[in-house]
């Protein structure tokens, strides 16, 4: 309940921000944060709740971006182009789901990583030229619709995961994470639930990729397939708190803002720091920032809170 209220306040605050400032750098920072939230939350559904470490998240982000960009630049209305992007990403996700889920644990992770690399190299070879928004659209480029679109998608991602997780299906998904054999024995189809989590996750990240394609003026099509998108999603989810709703949101805020602060003087230095933080989280604090916060609070109030739920990893 408290988190619902906090989430709504945060969303309303962000929605109101453009009324108080017209500074482009702040609005762009907002877009970065929203994209990061959407990217991480969509990863979190499959990686955190279903326990399937997908290192090919960038492939679906890239597919969404590619389809949306081509259709939108080709004159199709934005809404349709975005839906098509999400549909393409989901279709690909469901297509590879069958063979991919034959792989367990780490094999699933490296299998999806290989898949994403195949797509990245192929797209780079087929489309070596930079993609730029056509001149008329460029002349009327406005940050505000981009700001609200990415905000909406971020809210959508959080809402979908928040609604799905406590539902019956969500329980099934988490049961599969805890113990596949036990889930099967209790009549929860492991493959079905994993595939569903994959489909929703890829639909959301395809949509996010589409928003990226609408936001960015010019980029190489290959860039949207870069493993960096996957790495961002994994880092944010884990540092924030994997397998929680608010973890990826906090993680995204922390990640993007710290990255901006460091970028002023030390470009790319943030990855060094986040790499170290990530290792520390995996080793000593599997619940991420969220767990750190609840531990700190317990320490201060010395109340006997219920123990935090065990992390999947």
């Amino acid at each position: 309940m408290k988190f619902l209220l906090g989430g709504i306040l945060l969303a309303v605050g962000f929605a109101a921000l453009p009324f108080f400032t017209a500074r482009n750098d702040l609005l762009n920072l907002g877009v970065q944060i929203f994209l990061a939230i959407a990217l991480a939350q969509s990863w979190n559904l499959l990686g955190g709740y279903a326990g399937q470490i997908n290192l090919g998240h960038a492939a679906f982000f890239g597919l969404g971006a590619l389809a949306t960009r081509m259709l939108w630049v080709g004159g199709i209305p934005l809404f349709l182009a975005l839906s098509a992007g999400a549909a393409v990403a989901t279709a690909f996700g469901v297509l590879i789901g069958g063979p991919a889920f034959r792989l367990r644990g780490a094999y699933f992770a490296i299998g999806t990583l290989a898949l994403a690399e195949i797509l990245r190299i192929t797209v780079g070879n087929l489309m070596p030229e930079i993609s730029t928004i056509p001149a008329p659209a460029l002349a009327s480029y406005n940050i505000l619709p981009r700001y609200y679109l990415t905000l909406t998608i971020a809210v959508l991602c959080v809402a979908v995961v928040a609604i799905l997780v406590p539902s019956r299906v969500g329980l099934g998904i988490r049961a599969v994470r805890e113990d596949e054999a036990a889930a099967e024995a209790s009549g929860v189809g492991a493959f079905r639930h994993k595939l569903l989590a994959l489909a929703v996750s890829t639909a959301l990240v395809g949509l996010t990729g589409g928003a990226f394609a609408y936001y960015h003026v010019s980029y190489y099509p290959q860039h949207a397939f870069s493993p960096a998108w996957t790495f961002d999603a994994v880092l944010i989810s884990f540092i924030g708190g994997v397998g929680t709703i608010h973890g990826p949101v906090l993680g995204a805020l922390f990640y993007v803002i710290l990255k901006e602060l460091l970028a002023v003087r030390l470009v790319e230095f943030h990855l060094l720091i986040f790499g170290i933080l990530f290792i520390l989280v995996v080793l000593f604090l599997p619940g991420g920032l969220v767990e750190a916060w609840s531990r700190a609070r317990r320490l201060i109030t010395r109340k006997a809170d219920p123990l935090p739920t065990r992390s999947p990893f």
């Binding site: 470490i53 792989l103 780490a106 490296i110 290989a114 190299i121 790495f231 790499g275 990530f278 080793l283």
Partner: protein, 290 residues
């Protein structure tokens, strides 16, 4: 003719794939730890050879004698600081957590290398770098041939160590069944430490050899990790010579693809092969345990 020439080059690079994969196979097979920062460790070895050559003109083949032990020590430190915490968990959690830690390590080493040495591509260019042996119209670069022979020799020595030496046998016993090994009085913790350090040293030596014939930069890590993973999957776990054969097979497959599909798809072929084998035959082409 072009095909034969490409196949020769593929064969030569394949030896390095095999050497890179042998280190990964050792750590994965013995510790059940999947270190995805293996390519970054290889990159460090490459920079070692590069700087020793650039600053002090030390021949890259000679500097391997220093890089091997130095990377061995780095392996000890990494195990002590990171991976010893992972091996306490049971198998599935162990592989998953090691993957995540390796991933974090990847970011750290990659970005550290960029800060220390810039993102430029480097290569060790020795006086004898261009030497080739000609057979008819075919050219065999001698440096690469030396690397191939050296890679094979290193694996042979390692094989002798694993089959003859007391500690080598301890490593194999632990890989087979660590609980039984512990009951037989083998110090499993120390065996893990040794295997991990050996794996790191192998990565470093492979990197040194890579820097002589090919180029290195901070971003080569992911590519080499994937190559090593492809070969490990091709070869199955537990066989050093399987790794060597798998590496050469990958090199030949890439060479064939260069001729028939063109250079840009060189990387794709190995990855496709990898996925197909992973899905169809998870225990690898050359047998061994899954």
């Amino acid at each position: 003719m072009i095909l034969t020439q490409q196949l020769i080059l593929g064969l030569l690079v394949g030896g390095l794939y095999g050497l890179a994969a042998a280190g990964l196979s050792l750590t994965f097979g013995v510790l059940r730890v999947l270190n995805v920062a293996h390519g970054e460790l290889l990159m460090l070895g490459g920079y070692g050879a590069f700087w020793l050559f650039t600053l002090w003109r030390i021949d890259p083949f000679v500097s391997l004698l220093g890089i091997g032990p130095a990377m061995f020590v780095l392996g000890l430190l990494l195990y002590w600081a990171l991976f010893q915490f992972v091996v306490k968990a049971h198998e599935e959690v162990r592989i998953k957590n090691s993957l995540l830690i390796g991933f974090g390590l990847t970011l750290v080493l990659h970005n550290l290398a960029i800060r220390l040495w810039t993102a430029d591509e480097r290569a060790v260019t020795t006086a004898y770098a261009g030497a080739v042996a000609r057979i008819g119209a075919l050219a065999i670069p001698l440096v690469r041939l030396t690397s191939l022979v050296l890679a094979f020799a290193i694996l042979a020595v390692l094989h002798l160590f694993l089959t003859r030496a007391r500690w080598g046998r301890a490593i194999r016993a632990t890989a087979e069944d660590w609980e039984a090994a512990a009951l037989m009085g083998i110090p499993v913790g120390k065996t893990y430490l040794l295997a991990f350090a050996l794996g790191t040293a192998l990565a470093g030596i492979a990197g040194g050899l890579v820097s002589v014939s090919y180029s290195i930069s901070p971003s080569i890590g992911l590519e080499w990790t994937l190559k090593a993973l492809i070969v490990v999957v091709l070869a199955g776990l537990g066989s050093l010579f399987g790794c060597f054969a798998g590496g050469i097979l990958l090199g030949l497959a890439e060479a064939t693809s260069v001729v028939f599909l063109g250079g840009p798809y060189r990387e794709v072929v190995g990855l496709v092969l990898f996925l197909v084998i992973l899905v169809v035959r998870p225990q690898g082409l050359f047998g061994g345990r899954a």
